[in-house]
Symmetry: C2
Subunit: 307 residues, 2 copies
């Protein structure tokens, strides 16, 4: 048990489905954490202060600053913390937090940039995980955060230069649950060979190929070239391969040549991406599991909220 | 009213959801047609003869041959009519029909080929629509049949050289109905400019771009660069643009340089493809609305079933 007086910051990773609170010590170490199914989509407007009380419990009484990131700062959240336009120094991101009306919490804003075809892109929450990488990584890094909407982020000199989003996880989920492909798939042990074959098809795909390759995934399963469990891993590899093909070309234009490639996020998903990236000749490092807490700590320090 | 004695063939386009019967005259003209919701998925095994009776009604008594195409020849249909491997002459396709056990109907088989990456591809039913093009078109044609699973088919010297399938329509449907994109879309009048913008994004897309572009479609809508109705047409154009980018490259390798490009299928969808193909610099001709009936007539002639 650590004395409450050791607490210097309550860091809040507050997303769409759940909320997580971290109690952090003067030296940045994590003392304790709490979580609740009080994500933004589960809290009614006007009831965020109450939700915060439920999440924090007796931590509510601690006289320390609170810094939050994630969808809590979206239009559907407690208060909108505007998007900063890339490139954005972490120092500037830390200075741009927005306070809730009664001052309960400061919230980190999201980022926006414009892709190479002139289309806007957005992220919210991932910027803070990026800030949670080790100090020297922030000199030059390419950070890949796999998920429903994967993010590739280029970091240089402790600033976020730009990023690119991929709807890979969601595409996999809707195809698996709602398309003709889903009927051919079965859950099973990870099929390494089928996954690698899918990644290869994605990496090698010419422009426009995905609608054809999705049908090909079906015929591979129909013609018994893939097992029902393997077909799911093939599809997963195929979509990840596409993301990597585009992401690598994007990174070649936007990330420093000196950048190391970091994976941050769910362990099993990062394992898949590490395999796929290795297949593409890209070595990866793994970010810390508590990247959001570490990032909130860094931003709190940069903002002067903790000293 | 035409005398029953004029009837030379009953042609059956029998698919997954519905069945259509055509009564055809000695000169190949269509006399009359009937349809019923008796597609393969609505008929229990062992009840196809009964379903045929219900579809044909008093035509059942006509002493003329009957030729069917479509999913009625699949493993889930009346009897399996095997896939022929491309290239296949229409003459050979006509010779490879399979009769039901009691001889009620002859059924045209599907086609299979292997794509440029070694993956099998299949079609069933579309081969007969291709055979329904005008006689001289069959010397050299690229036939595009848009739909849930679009088909691009290369025809040379009255033979089907090969084909390529795209899951474009199904991808559009699952994204529209089940992804985060669907929440931003609304039905409305066709938005020509949004569609054209989507097509352009699809045609210009570098390898692997689709997972990124799907997220970009969302931000375009979020940032009010697309109306809710326009976002649906943008997505449609984007996916069709991808299909065309891949299909054109495929056709350059597999279709004759002398081939005209034909669109066959649903009118509204063919209109969309005609616009998108024009944007890619490809002029198109429109196949006949009754392509399946005409194709069955041609195959019946080639098989000697009608003289």
């Amino acid at each position: 048990m650590t004395a409450a007086g050791d607490t210097a910051l309550i860091a809040l990773d507050w997303g769409t489905t759940s909320a997580r609170a971290y109690r952090m010590r003067r030296d940045g170490a994590l003392i304790d954490q709490r979580h609740a199914a009080l994500g933004v989509q589960h809290v009614r407007p006007g009831e965020f202060a109450q939700a915060l009380g439920a999440l924090l419990g007796d931590w509510s009484a601690l006289p320390v600053p609170r810094l939050a990131c994630g969808m809590i700062g979206s239009r559907q959240g407690w208060i909108e913390a505007p998007y900063s336009r890339c490139p954005v120094a972490l120092q500037a991101l830390a200075a741009a937090t927005v306070r809730t009306p009664e001052g309960e919490v400061a919230i980190v804003g999201g980022l926006t940039c414009v892709d190479d075809t002139g289309v806007p892109d957005v992220l919210r929450g991932e910027e803070t995980q990026v800030a949670g990488l080790p100090d020297d990584a922030l000199d030059a890094a390419l950070v890949i955060q796999p998920g429903t909407h994967s993010k590739w982020t280029a970091v240089a000199n402790h600033a976020i230069a730009g990023f690119s989003t991929y709807m890979t996880g969601e595409l996999y989920a809707v195809l698996r649950e709602h398309s003709i492909l889903g009927r051919l798939l079965a859950k099973g042990l990870f099929d390494d060979a089928a996954f690698a074959r899918g990644v290869d098809a994605g990496l090698q795909a010419p422009a426009g190929a995905l609608p054809h390759q999705l049908f090909a995934a079906r015929t591979l399963a129909l013609f018994d070239a893939l097992t029902p469990a393997g077909a799911g891993d093939y599809l997963s590899g195929l979509l990840i391969g596409h993301e990597i093909a585009h992401g690598r070309a994007w990174a070649a234009r936007h990330a420093s040549a000196a950048a190391s490639t970091w994976l941050v996020g769910d362990d099993a998903l990062c394992d898949r991406y590490a395999r796929a990236l290795a297949q593409a000749g890209v070595a990866t490092l793994r970010g810390p599991a508590d990247a959001a807490a570490r990032g909130l700590w860094r931003l709190a320090r940069l903002s002067g909220m903790v000293v």
